[in-house]
Every structure is written in C-alpha cells, then in structure tokens.
C-alpha cells in the first residue's frame, strides 16, 4: 500500500506498471483518474486551487485504503492526490487497486474514491469569470458513500 499527497503530476501507466511488476498473481487492475473539468455548476472554470490538511490527509487516505483491504481480497493499492494550483484537463487524483479478480478490484477502487470524496481533507477553490468560489460538497457524494454501509 502506498499513499502520496503531492503537488507534481503522476504517470498513470508507470504507476500501474510499478504496482504489478514482478507479481504475476495479479490478474486485475482497476484504476481511476480524476481530472479538473473546465466547467462546474454552470460556470466556466479557468483554474483551481486545491487546499489540504498536511499530515491528516495522508492518515485519512491510509485509513480508507486499510478499510478497503479489510472488506475485499485485494493485493495492493496506490493512491496519489495532488494539491496546489491546477488547470482544466490536469490530473487531480489516481487510485489503483490490484487483485486476483476484477470484481473485488472494481469494488475496492470505487469504495476508495467514494470515501476519499467525503473523508479526505481536501478543498477545491475554483476561479470562474465571476471570481473565485469554494466548491460546495455534493449531496451525491454523501449518497455514494452511504451505499457501502448497507
């Protein structure tokens, strides 16, 4: 398991290759990449600033990954989340889950993203034509995370 919180970009292919190298028991790799969109809530977005809580962020991500590993039989996880200034089209977050079979890899990957969205201390501030604004938490994200409790 490995969690990184960093300003710099990441290479998805290289990260998947590093996670699977020399481990031929792995048959399934599910991954997710989140990107900055150029529009949100009806307004054009020209720039974004991602604030986070250094120290807690890493712990929160590690706790989420540990929880996923107790729920599913998976072999390894990689999480990278960026902070700082980002432009539309830039990568924000990467979650990779490797396991023997695809069902568990998919479920664990989506679980980690859903928890990350509601439990990891990151906050987005968008720059639009009307000025800067903090992104509001989405009810859909709270719903998404509640699914996993049932």
């Amino acid at each position: 398991m490995s969690v990184s919180v960093q300003q710099q970009d990441f290479d998805v292919g290289a990260e998947i290759a590093a996670l699977t190298a020399g481990r031929p028991q792995i048959g399934a790799v599910a991954s997710f990449v989140g990107l900055v969109r150029d529009a949100n809530d009806g307004a054009g977005v020209s720039r974004m600033e991602l604030e986070h809580y250094p120290g807690m962020t890493e712990k929160a991500l590690e706790d989420i990954v540990a929880e996923a590993r107790t729920r599913w039989d998976i072999m390894d996880v990689r999480v990278i989340h960026r902070y700082g200034p980002l432009r539309p089209g830039e990568r924000i977050v990467l979650v990779i889950v490797a396991g023997a079979h695809r069902g568990e890899a998919f479920a664990a990957c989506e679980f980690i993203m859903d928890y990350l969205k509601t439990r990891a201390p990151f906050w987005k501030k968008e720059k639009t034509a009307a000025g800067e604004r903090w992104v509001e938490a989405r009810e859909a994200d709270d719903e998404a995370v509640r699914r996993w409790s049932s």
């Binding site: 991602l50 990350l116 990891a120 201390p121 990151f122 903090w134 938490a137």
Partner: protein, 83 residues
C-alpha cells in the same frame, strides 16, 4: 495549550489558519471549545454561520462530543471536496 486549525472557506472567513490557545476552565469537549470560540464574536462568528462544519481532533475526524485535552490539535473545516 492546544493548537487550533481552520481550513478553506472557514480559514478565509476567520482570517487565520492556526492559533494556540490555553484551554479555558471547563472546556473539555469539541462542543465546548466550539462554543467558546464562536462566543468570541467578530470573525469567529463564522463558526456559527457555517453549516455542516467538520471537526478533526489530532488529525482524526471527530464529533462535538469528542474530548479535547491539553496538547491536542483541533481542526475545524467545511465539508471536504477533494478527489
């Protein structure tokens, strides 16, 4: 002495990101600390204005009932929006 942190829109509303505080007598929970801070008035009224404020004690999500002791780090922030 405890360390208090504010993040994102709450940080901007209060106008600072961190402060040190000697725990006032009788303040031993997040809820009591929150009431104490909001009761200062001025910029700290933002604490009462923000809906769904989240709290972390020593970098773990917590609720208003959580204990606060000398040496703790207590963070207040709006719902998170990463990912």
């Amino acid at each position: 002495m405890i360390r208090i942190l504010y993040f994102a829109s709450l940080r901007e509303a209060i106008g600072q990101s961190a402060e040190q505080l000697v725990l006032p007598p009788g303040v031993s929970s997040v809820g009591a600390l929150y009431a104490h801070l909001a009761g200062r008035g001025g910029a700290w009224e933002a604490l009462a204005r923000f809906k769904n404020l989240r709290v972390a004690v020593n970098q773990k999500m917590a609720d208003m009932d959580a204990a606060v002791r000398d040496g703790d780090e207590v963070a207040f922030f709006p719902p998170v929006t990463g990912g």
